[in-house]
């Protein structure tokens, strides 16, 4: 088992009133209106905060609503989506902002996206350099040579080799595409980075390389919301870990306590860790519920060994870092 990542610089003090967190999400819910009037609750009541120089990993099984949450923060949800709750960064309310505000002040400037399949998020018929320069012109208002220099700076900060700037997206290897995506996210010097499944489909050593690179951006003072189902990548990068199940955040804990001892307090989070081949490699019985018809009470009750009548009927409140009627151990 890879030893827990080196001791990190001490995380900044508890978010006090005078110094508001970089990103504060309260009661964020997203649901989709399906044909025939049915509603699918993709995200319910998500709440967390994120500080500069800190990385929060949002982990969970594929299909639990992680990527929907990322799209909600950037205002890129499809037309049939409805949102509720608040998500505030640098004084701007993300969920109610209209398209013009999002395009001119938030995207690229306040929140930088490192997308899932990086090569697919670049326009195939234009070179990486051209798209970098275009983004630089749009975000910084620079023109011509100055814009090109700014773009080259962002590429260099993301360790993207300067001589590959005239390459087309389909000519990039997995690792290069990842670094190009990071460079594009850094052009606007956004204080908050949003990495949506950055390591999917990459080989193991490439995953570690990408995780370290993202960690380097956090150590330079940026905040990073890392969305992934790869727990090993989360362990290498995160300061805190939030676990999502069936659209709900069921646990938020410090990375050292989560991956080390005493381990996660929510039974699902514990089951997720035990399923790793590095550990007992035992699967969580049963299947995740349909987001279209979530059971009453705790969504994990049908698969939880410690569930009782209360779990099945009453939905647990998120308190003490977890949303469970029978959490393990005491609150930190």
């Amino acid at each position: 088992m890879t030893e827990p990542s080196a001791t990190r610089p001490s995380t900044p003090a508890h978010p006090s009133a005078d110094h508001p967190p970089l990103l504060e999400v309260r009661g964020l819910s997203v649901r989709f209106r399906m044909p025939g009037g049915r509603h699918v609750a993709a995200v319910s009541d998500a709440g967390f905060t994120l500080e500069a120089g800190q990385c929060l990993a949002l982990v969970g099984e594929s299909g639990c609503g992680k990527s929907v949450l990322a799209s909600a923060l950037l205002g890129l949800l499809p037309a049939n989506a409805q949102t509720a709750g608040t998500a505030r960064t640098a004084g701007t309310e993300l969920l109610t902002a209209d398209e013009a505000v999002l395009a001119r002040t938030v995207r690229g400037r306040l929140v930088g996206l490192v997308p899932q399949s990086p090569a697919a998020h670049l326009t195939p018929v234009r070179t990486v350099g051209a798209q970098l320069a275009e983004t630089a012109r749009a975000l910084t208002g620079l023109r011509g040579e100055a814009a090109a220099r700014h773009a080259a700076g962002a590429a260099e900060r993301a360790a993207y080799p300067a001589d590959h700037l005239d390459r087309y997206p389909h000519e990039l290897s997995g690792g290069l595409a990842q670094r190009a995506a990071t460079a594009l996210a850094l052009v606007g010097d956004a204080p908050l980075l949003l990495a949506d499944e950055p390591t999917t489909g990459l080989d193991r050593d490439l995953v570690e390389h990408t995780a370290d690179e993202l960690r380097r951006q956090v150590d330079r003072g940026r905040a990073l919301l890392l969305i992934t189902h790869d727990l090993a990548a989360a362990q290498r990068t995160a300061d805190r870990v939030a676990v999502m199940y069936a659209g709900r955040i069921v646990e938020i804990a410090e990375a050292d306590r989560f991956f080390g001892d005493p381990g996660p307090r929510h039974p699902y989070a514990r089951g997720l860790l035990n399923a790793l081949p590095e550990r007992s490699f035992t699967p969580i019985p049963g299947l995740p519920p349909e987001l279209g018809d979530l059971p009453a009470g705790c969504a994990f009750a049908p698969r939880c060994s410690k569930s009782d009548g209360r779990c099945a009927s009453q939905r647990p409140v998120f308190a003490g870092g977890t949303a469970c009627h029978h959490p393990e151990g005491a609150a930190p």
Binding site: R33, A79, F318
Partner: protein
Amino acid sequence: MADRRPVPFAAPAVWRSRGGTRRSTRTLRIAASAAVLVCVALAVLVVPPAVDLDQQAVDLPSKLLPPSAAHPFGTDDVGRDLLLRCVYGLRVSLVVGLVAALAATVIGTAVGAAAAALGGWTDRLLMRLVDTFSSVPHLLLGIFVVAMFRPGLWPVVVSVAVTHWLSTARIVRAEVLSLRSRPYIDAAVSGGAGRLRVAVRHLLPGVLPQAGLAAVLMVPHTMWHESALSFLGLGLPTHQASLGNLVQTARGSLLAGHWWPTLFPGLFLIVPTLAVAGLAGAWRERLNPRRRAELTL
């Protein structure tokens, strides 16, 4: 430190949606198209036997009457009622279109499936043939065949069919090739399925929708071509008046300012074509795996 403050249970959520919701006119389009096609079928099947119209009956006094109650579409330059002639014309055009489209689809599917299934040099040979045929403009090839074999019903049907199997062949071949490379064909082979079972159980259901769609869309296209041939005087003989013939004979009276003998035969060709396009479009939307409403988590 994790958050100490218990999060208050969210008040009843205030839902806000960003994109405007547009009423889909899909069901409206399908209903309208279906209604038109039913009318076309009724008109073509019921009217001829019911109203025994003698095509050659000439009624000179009521020559070139504008549309009126008696003659909804007015009369042509020899006094015949245009509405009835349009229905007859539509029937002829439809017959030619259906037969030619059917022939084109059968030839195209056979060539396309054979090219994809056999592969190797047969595939290259057949595709070279298709490329050659398709590099001659359809109407020009049609004109050439009809010119050589003297205008008549069968030369027109043959010339339109011979020039239209190319697109079907390409569609079927592309579809079979893309399906054959899918892992689920490998899984069927590994599961003991024989060649025939793979073809009938897995490949055919995959190809039929696309080939069927191509066939349906072919009918208006072949009708279009038949009308072009007839207009150029190389289509059906005048006593078998198709819509193209009607427009050609109407050309004289048009220059004298009478617009209705030209307008209505054209509309009789356009409206059924739009109906077929409407239904085919809805069908293609259902076939398209990436439906808009599908949720992407």
